[in-house]
Symmetry: C2
Subunit: 207 residues, 2 copies
DNA sequence: CTCTTAGCGGAACGAACCATTCCGCGCGGG
DNA sequence: CCCGCGCGGAATGGTTCGTTCCGCTAAGAG
C-alpha cells in the first residue's frame, strides 16, 4: 500500500518538477517544486538524494514521453509531415514541459547509463520522423534532427507576455516555423548564408 | 578633456553591458560587465548610481540603435521585404546584443519619460517596416509588429552549443523563420489555430 | 625631482537566495 | 489512550552579488 501511495507521490513530484523547471529553468528552487507538488521539501529529499538526482529523473521521464509521442505520431499519422507536426505540437503543449526539458543537454555531470541510452533513443526516433518527411519530399533536405532540437530550444523559453497567452503565442510561432521548414518553399528567398550578399546584410560596423 | 575620456568610457561600459546582458541575461553580475569593459566595478558605480540605472541606459542605447537600423533599412533598401530582412539580420548580429535587450519589457519599474518615448518610437518604426512589407504583399496579412518582437525574443536566448556556432545557428534559424513569414506561402499548411483539428493536435492527455 | 591628490581597480561587507537538514506535531495502528 | 512514523515547514550554512571602502598609482604643479 505504501507502494501505491509512494508511486502516486513520485509521479506528482516528477510532474511538478518538470513543469516548474520548464517555466523557470533548472535553477528554480526546490521549494517551488514542492509547493506545486503539494508536498513539503523534505518529502522530495526523502525520495531523491539531491536536486541533481531529481533533475536527472525529470529528464529521464521527459525522454520517455518524447519517445512515446514520437512513436505514436509515426504509427498513427499516415502523412510524414503531419506526423512531425503533430509530434512537435504535442511536445510543446503548454504545461507538459516535455520540450523544454529536452534540449538542455548542458553542463558536465556524469550521466547514468539509463540517461545516455534514452537520449540516444530520442535522437533515433526524432531522426526517423525527420527522415520520413524528407523522403516524402515534405521537408527540406538541409534539415536534420538536430534542427528539431534547435526548434524546441528556441520555441520554448522565456515568457512572451505571461501565462495563458504563452500557449497561443507558442502555437502561432510553431506554425510560422513549420511553414519555414516546408520543402516546397524551395530555396530560401533570402541570400544563402556565407555569400557576399548575406554577409552584407549582417556585417557592417554601422553600430 | 575629462569629457572625451569619460565619454569613451561610458560608451565602452554601455557596450560591454549590452553584450553581457545579451549573453547571460539581465541577471549577469556587474563584475562581468566591468571585466568586459576593462574597468573596475567602482568605475561603473561612479557613473551609474545603481545596476537598475545602468540597465535602463543600456536599454535606451539599444532602442536608439534599433531605431537607426530600422530607418536606415527603410531608407536604403528599395524592396520592403529586403528592408525588413536586413533590419532583422542587423539587429541580431552576434555581439550587438540589440535584439536581445529589446524584447525584455518585463517587470514593474517606473520607466523614465525618455525610456517610454523611445520605446514608442521603436514600435512605430518597426510597424512602418512591417506595413511596407504587407502593402507590397510580401508579408502575411496576419502579422504585425509585435510578431517581430516575438521573433527577436525567440531568436535570441539561450546558447545552443556555445560561442561561435551561435551566430551561424541564429542566422539559419532566422532564415527559417523569415521563410515562414513570407506571404506567398499563402495559408498555413497546418490546421488553423482554434479549429477542431488543431486542438486535436495539441490536446490529449496522452501524457 | 618631489609632493599632492584625483581617480582607479579590486577586496571587503552585508543582504538575499537556496540546497539541504532538523524538529515538533498530527494521525493511524495497537 | 498511547506510541511512533512520516510529514511539512522552519532553521542552517554556504554561495552569489550589489554596493561600498581603501590603498595605490600616475599625472600635474611647484
Amino acid at each position: 500500500m505504501a507502494t501505491a501511495t509512494t508511486a502516486r507521490h513520485d509521479d506528482a513530484v516528477i510532474r511538478a518538477a518538470r513543469e516548474v523547471f520548464a517555466e523557470h529553468g533548472m535553477a528554480a528552487p526546490m521549494a517551488e517544486v514542492a509547493k506545486r507538488a503539494g508536498v513539503g521539501v523534505a518529502s522530495i529529499y526523502r525520495r531523491y538524494p539531491s536536486k541533481a538526482e531529481l533533475v536527472e529523473q525529470v529528464r529521464i521521464a521527459a525522454f520517455r514521453l518524447v519517445i512515446d509521442e514520437a512513436e505514436a505520431a509515426r504509427a498513427e499519422e499516415r502523412d510524414p509531415w503531419r506526423a512531425l507536426s503533430r509530434f512537435m505540437h504535442r511536445c510543446l503543449r503548454e504545461g507538459s514541459g516535455i520540450g523544454t526539458v529536452l534540449p538542455q543537454l548542458e553542463k558536465r555531470h556524469t550521466f547514468s547509463v539509463e540517461f545516455r541510452d534514452l537520449q540516444q533513443r530520442v535522437a533515433e526516433v526524432i531522426e526517423a520522423l525527420v527522415d520520413d518527411a524528407k523522403l516524402a519530399g515534405e521537408l527540406r533536405a538541409d534539415v536534420d534532427w538536430t534542427d528539431v532540437l534547435l526548434l524546441f530550444k528556441h520555441l520554448n523559453p522565456s515568457l512572451p507576455t505571461t501565462e495563458s497567452r504563452r500557449a497561443e503565442l507558442r502555437a502561432r510561432y510553431l506554425g510560422l516555423v513549420l511553414e519555414g521548414l516546408r520543402a516546397d518553399g524551395a530555396a530560401l528567398r533570402g541570400p544563402a548564408p556565407d555569400t557576399a550578399e548575406w554577409r552584407a546584410l549582417c556585417d557592417n560596423r554601422a553600430e
